[in-house]
């Protein structure tokens, strides 16, 4: 299976705006951030049939932040989990639809470079 480890540029469009984030996939860990302080932290693993990746990401929105789904974290930080399945070579797709508790988004993950994982 092709290497997923790498640094990715994530371009996201929601119902109320667009956003960009830098995301790292390495050794089963996903982590990243956007320029306005939203943090992404989670894990990924290869599915049993090796045809896709199961992904879980916790998204933390700082107090006062407004996300591309149009929701504002008025009084305190907002944190929510996103579960999704990424197909193989997802970085070659035009975009991936993602359902979040705050609303749907479309996300394009563009691989910037490969990284060598600690296990290889």
């Amino acid at each position: 299976m092709e290497k997923i480890e790498g640094v990715y540029a994530a371009y996201m469009t929601g119902t109320e705006g667009q956003g960009f984030a830098l995301v790292l996939f390495m050794d089963g860990i996903i982590t990243g951030a956007d320029p306005l302080g939203v943090l992404f932290d989670g894990w990924y693993k290869i599915s049993k049939k090796e045809s896709s990746y199961s992904v879980s990401v916790n998204v933390k929105v700082p107090k006062g932040g407004t996300v591309i789904q149009g929701v504002t974290a008025k009084d305190s930080d907002i944190a929510y989990d996103v579960l999704l399945t990424l197909p193989r070579k997802f970085w070659e797709l035009d975009y991936i639809p993602v359902t979040t508790p705050l609303g749907p988004i479309n996300m394009k993950l563009k691989k910037i470079r490969d990284l060598r994982s600690a296990s290889t």
Partner: protein
């Protein structure tokens, strides 16, 4: 003869003559120096006054247009900050922070732009000596009637439509149309 200079009456006369010449010199040079100094102080005061007026004009322009930072007047004022406030590190740092979010594509959230605009205005007010009388609430209070907001939106949409028409006509020059392939765009479409 040498001994004549030593006579008391001649010595006293000589000293008096020298004293008179010195008095005449000082009577001429001191007023002149005072006049030069006064002129220098006047010029400095005028320069300081002009510099302060320049700063006040920029501050006023941004205060007036803080509900619409993209107006021509506001853009001119913002671009003059580094020149007018060149001695104020806090103002220039606040401008640098606002500049970052104004240039963030596809567009930073409004609350961030508003907060950084307020910080910039606060820093300018302090530099101008108005910091005590202007509070953060004062800087955040904006009167922006719906009618004016709509007028500006209509104008903006008209400008955008004209721009798109112009770009289309440029692309089809010479009979060759170069359409932008949507799939090559970095940004995915909005979810349905």
């Amino acid at each position: 003869m040498m001994s004549d200079w030593l006579k008391p009456e001649i010595a006293v006369s000589s000293i008096a003559a020298i004293g008179t010449m010195l008095a005449a010199y000082f009577a001429w040079s001191i007023p002149r120096k005072i006049a030069v100094l006064a002129e220098k102080m006047r010029q400095e005061s005028e320069t300081n006054h002009d510099a302060r007026r320049f700063k006040l004009n920029i501050f006023a322009a941004i205060m007036q247009e803080r509900a619409n930072l993209f107006s021509e007047d506001c853009v001119r004022a913002l671009n003059s900050i580094d020149v007018a406030f060149n001695g104020s590190v806090s103002v220039r740092e606040a401008w640098a922070e606002l500049f970052k979010v104004l240039n963030y594509r596809p567009g930073a959230p409004d609350y961030i732009i508003e907060e950084r605009t307020r910080r910039l205005l606060q820093a300018m007010a302090i530099d101008l000596g108005l910091g005590d009388s202007l509070r953060s609430d004062d800087l955040g209070r904006v009167y922006y009637p719906e009618a004016i907001a709509r007028q500006r939106q209509v104008s903006m949409h008209q400008t955008n439509a004209q721009y798109e028409q112009l770009m289309r006509s440029l692309k089809t020059e010479g009979g060759v149309t170069t359409e932008v392939d949507g799939t090559d765009s970095l940004w995915p479409p909005a979810p349905k």
